[in-house]
């Protein structure tokens, strides 16, 4: 469990926050209207999770058991506030688009869950790595979700990229006269696409399981 490779596997695939644990669905569904929005919020979450887990693990010996939750919340809320201020200052346009969902990272249960379940019991580096990998898992999920919704809904990808990297433009992947299946961008589309992603992940898992079983069976017979 504590090998760094195992932590990464856990965060990105086995316990993926968006597709397996289904924690923090509110921002996942609300912000994934486009690739850029989704990934930006995901990156902010990575930042917060890495810092929060790292900080909590470094000071865990000073935190009495009874008041650990208030202290965790205090740490997470401060870090989120700092990220919020930083984005407001340097990525203002994106900040306006993501709006309430940056401060809401505080109440994203995945942050507190990892801090409580992992960081409070492990070394700072392992904890920071765990926070980062959980965040990467979220980014992967939200990037897929956002990318698919944007592509199906508008025929474009990376719209709004100029808010992050000035001078770049969205890619028009589908023909210019693609009518745009805007259901994908509206709230119902978030649920439908997320459902398909979860089904796809489960299918891949089942597929791998079958392969392993088929591989193991002859050996067993012998």
């Amino acid at each position: 469990m504590n090998s760094y490779k195992e932590i990464a596997r856990n965060g990105i695939w086995k316990q993926n926050t968006g597709l397996v644990q289904l924690l923090g669905l509110c921002p996942l569904l609300a912000v994934s209207t486009s690739f850029v929005n989704g990934v930006s919020l995901g990156l902010a979450t990575i930042l917060v999770m890495t810092m929060a887990s790292g900080v909590v693990a470094s000071v865990r010996s000073f935190i009495p058991h009874e008041i650990r939750i208030p202290v965790f919340i205090l740490i997470i809320a401060s870090l989120v506030t700092m990220v919020d201020l930083a984005m407001n200052a340097w990525l203002h346009e994106l900040y306006l688009v993501l709006g309430i969902f940056i401060p809401l990272i505080v109440v994203n249960c995945i942050v507190l869950a990892r801090v409580e379940a992992f960081a409070a019991k492990n070394t700072p580096f392992a904890a920071a790595w765990d926070g980062a990998m959980m965040g990467v898992g979220l980014v992967v999920a939200i990037a897929l979700l956002g990318g698919l919704r944007e592509l199906i809904g508008t025929g474009q990808l990376f719209s709004g990229i100029d808010m992050v990297i000035p001078g770049t433009r969205a890619l028009q992947l589908l023909p210019e006269d693609y009518p745009g299946f805007i259901v994908a961008i509206l709230p119902p589309g978030a649920f439908i696409v997320l459902g398909c992603l979860i089904a796809g992940r489960n299918w891949l898992d089942a597929h791998a399981e079958r392969k392993r079983a088929a591989h193991a069976a002859p050996a067993h017979a012998a």
């Binding site: 009518p179 745009g180 299946f181 805007i182 259901v183 509206l186 119902p188 439908i192």
Partner: protein, 326 residues
Amino acid sequence: MLKVLLALVPGIAVYVWFFGAAILVQIALASAAALAGEAAMLKARGKPVALFLTDGSALVTAWLIALTFPPIAPWWLTVTATLFAIVVAKHLYGGLGQNPFNPAMVAFAVSIIAFPALMSQWPAVGFTDFAAQMAVVLQSQSAQDAVTMATPLDALRTQLHTPEARATVAGVLGSHATFGNIGGKGWEWIALAYLAGGLWLMQQRIITWHVPAAFLAVLALIATGFSLGNPDRYAGPVFHVVTGGAMLGAFFILTDPVSGATTPRGKLIFAAGAALLTWIIRSFGAYPDGMAFAVLLMNLCVPLIDMGTQPPVFGHKSQKREKRHE
């Protein structure tokens, strides 16, 4: 299911009479898409294709989609919507007998949200030139204002919505070319043909009286109440019953045995709820006809309704009694 299709024929005949033969092309398109989607999904799920394909349920879905969509909808919209209904709304939810939502209504709801402009392009009464209609369907020519027209419900709502016009229901109904004697021009006769087909289904014991009677009665009742209270703002019962998807819905959509309620009392509640929602969405909602959304919302309530109306099995204590003993 064959009889259900048969019962739709008079309605379709009247439809062709008033709005031209494009609807037949739409029905063919939807049927082909439905059968192809059904066969592909059955194969993928490892079910006997021929056995399930001949039950006709996919065709009913296809016909209902064609009949609720504008006859001059672009061909790809009809095909995509039908495939969505069969693949997503029906098979991904477990196939016939398992789908909680009426597939045709899912297709309608998805399409009207995704392509509101295309879904509100209805041919004007008297625009029956088949070649011209096909040009629009095949998208070699975009629909012109001259050949399209708002549906009666849409026209009424748009006019009442304009604060400057100070329109009244009577004023709108009297002035507009869309409106006929009791409902929409042409639409009222199609609705009556559906009614005839529906009554025949009832006589054949394919459907029971509960759903259509409760739906139409409650819709008429609410419409009567409000139009008596404020005749300028709310349309009367006859208008509501013969326009939009009301008649088709009452006999052919809400009566779907899979996604509807199963007990007699449940059917009454289910249909009454759908009528209430239809009226509310028509009168206050953002989309012209509330039928599809009402059906889907009531589909959601079906497990609850069925649970509440299940007759107690003989020899078992009713749940209420058990509670009291605790």
